[in-house]
């Protein structure tokens, strides 16, 4: 991801900023301009507090490559890692890594909370991209 694209998305990555439809109470993450339920164009900004549950998950055992075919270093170091679809309390689902737990601790339906972590650190010269991951609520 380019630096400028990452910068534009910082509110979502750092603060889980999405949208809420004040007409029908639908929530969106990532944010969108028009409510897909009622067609309302005047959606409000909503900060998700990051609580949710695991809908499904998989274990990644192959490091992620960037479009140029280079291994993204942070993932080369962390394999195997847990990638899950998390359903936030307000409803939206998102894909994120589950950290600070053993693979066999992760179960569908388990409660999770958002944490702030490094997502991509492309070499010693590149910008560090931070964002949300999740950990089990213990």
């Amino acid at each position: 991801m380019t630096v400028s694209k990452f910068w534009r998305n910082i509110p979502q990555y750092y603060n889980l900023i999405g949208k809420k439809c004040p007409e029908c109470n639908s929530y969106y993450f990532p944010p969108r301009d028009v409510c897909s339920q009622c067609g309302n164009h005047k959606l409000e900004e909503h900060k998700f507090d990051g609580r949710g549950e695991i809908v499904t998950f998989t274990i990644i055992r192959t490091p992620l490559m960037d479009p140029e075919g280079e291994v993204i270093d942070i993932h080369a170091q962390t394999i195997p890692y847990i990638l899950a679809i998390v359903k936030l309390e307000e409803g939206p689902k998102l894909t994120a890594e589950i950290v600070d737990c053993e693979i066999d601790e992760v179960k569908i339906g388990k409660e999770v909370g958002a944490v702030f972590r490094k997502i991509v650190e492309k070499g010693p010269h590149g910008v560090i991209q931070y964002g949300y991951k999740f950990k089990l609520v213990r």
Binding site: K47, Q77, T78, F116, I128
Partner: protein
């Protein structure tokens, strides 16, 4: 009155035992453990650094402070492991906790006392009415070369404090510093690991600066060691703070609640202020706390702090230091090398 209105700590989930490091270094674990008085140390996850640690600690401090993050006018963070050489950690943390753009920040570095240097700056800014609220913190993911004795103690963690003039839970009554040009420990530009003067880090460095700063403070506030409920001294290992406390006239009952190094290691810029956070987790209204940090290079900052009855209102709004000490996972030396990118 100026003081702490919220505090927050964060210590990573992972630990490595001294035995595991001793095995890799071909040393006798019992000799190391009794010499350094350390059992284990915290290790950052592969995706953690000083910015992520500061964000989690700051979020915990905000839960207690009961203010909007947009009301914070300054953020100063001390560390010797800022993620960037050029780009302030404070900007990342401010964005992540939801501060406005109307704030000032700069990264601080003064070995293990950069956190208390941040606390002094924010204290002065709040006291002078330049800002209403300010955030100060000390965090580190400390580095040590494989085979260096520092590897047994160099750890990760930090604490953050929000200061204000209303709803104070711990009043900072006074602070002094004692500073000199003493090259006991350093890291040159572009070097991955620090170097140090071995035993030279003791008497002319750690002990001289902590004793002088503490005695300057005691004289200034006209108090004696027995006037304090708790005392916290910088914790590079488990031996030095106990010895310096004894030299100054403090007893074990005063220092043990804030002595975290045997279980988490030396969190450098976070060390003495994590001790303060642990004491605030248990302190009662009216308790008095003395904190003296030490940073190689070298200097000490000493603080005279008094707990107010407001502390009971906010203490349980966030995780305690003990929560982070209890919730851990042990890793082996190979995993430790991977996580610390050695």
């Amino acid at each position: 009155m100026t003081g702490i209105i919220g505090w927050g700590a964060y210590i990573p989930h992972y630990r490595i035992k001294a035995e595991e490091i001793a095995k890799a270094q071909g040393q006798d674990a019992d000799t190391i453990k009794s010499g350094l008085r350390i059992e284990e140390k915290s290790v950052p996850g592969i995706d953690e650094d000083s910015a992520t640690i500061a964000v989690e600690a700051a979020k915990n401090a905000l839960k207690r402070a009961n203010i909007l993050p947009t009301e914070i006018g300054a953020i100063y963070l001390g560390s010797e492991s800022h993620p960037y050489a050029v780009k302030p950690t404070g900007t990342i943390v401010a964005q992540a906790i939801g501060m406005s753009n109307n704030y000032t920040t700069a990264d601080l570095e003064f070995a293990c006392k950069a956190g208390t240097a941040a606390l002094q700056i924010i204290y002065a800014m709040v006291k002078s009415d330049m800002i209403r609220y300010g955030l100060a913190g000390g965090i580190d993911t400390a580095q040590a070369a494989p085979g260096d004795p520092l590897e047994y103690t160099a750890a990760a963690g930090g604490a953050v404090f929000i200061l204000g003039r209303e709803n104070i839970v711990a009043e900072i009554k006074d602070t002094v510093s004692f500073t000199s040009d003493t090259p006991d420990f350093w890291r040159r530009a572009y070097q991955k690991y620090p170097s140090h003067g071995g035993a030279f880090t003791g008497e002319p460095a750690y002990f001289k600066h902590i004793i002088n700063a503490t005695e300057l403070l005691l004289k200034k506030v006209n108090k004696k060691p027995t006037d304090y409920t708790y005392a916290i001294f910088h914790q590079p290992n488990g031996k030095f703070p106990v010895r310096v406390a004894k030299k100054l006239g403090f007893n074990n009952e005063q220092i043990l609640p804030g002595l975290l190094v045997p279980k988490i290691g030396n969190t450098y810029s976070g060390s003495s202020i994590l001790g303060l956070a642990a004491v605030l987790d248990i302190a009662k209204p009216g308790d008095t706390i003395l904190v003296t940090s030490y940073g190689s290079g070298a200097g000490s900052d000493s603080f005279d702090i008094e707990v107010t009855d407001q502390i009971l209102r906010i203490r349980n709004k966030s995780q305690s230091v003990q929560d982070y000490i209890d919730n851990i996972k042990y890793i082996d030396y190979a995993t430790y090398l991977k996580y610390t990118k050695k």
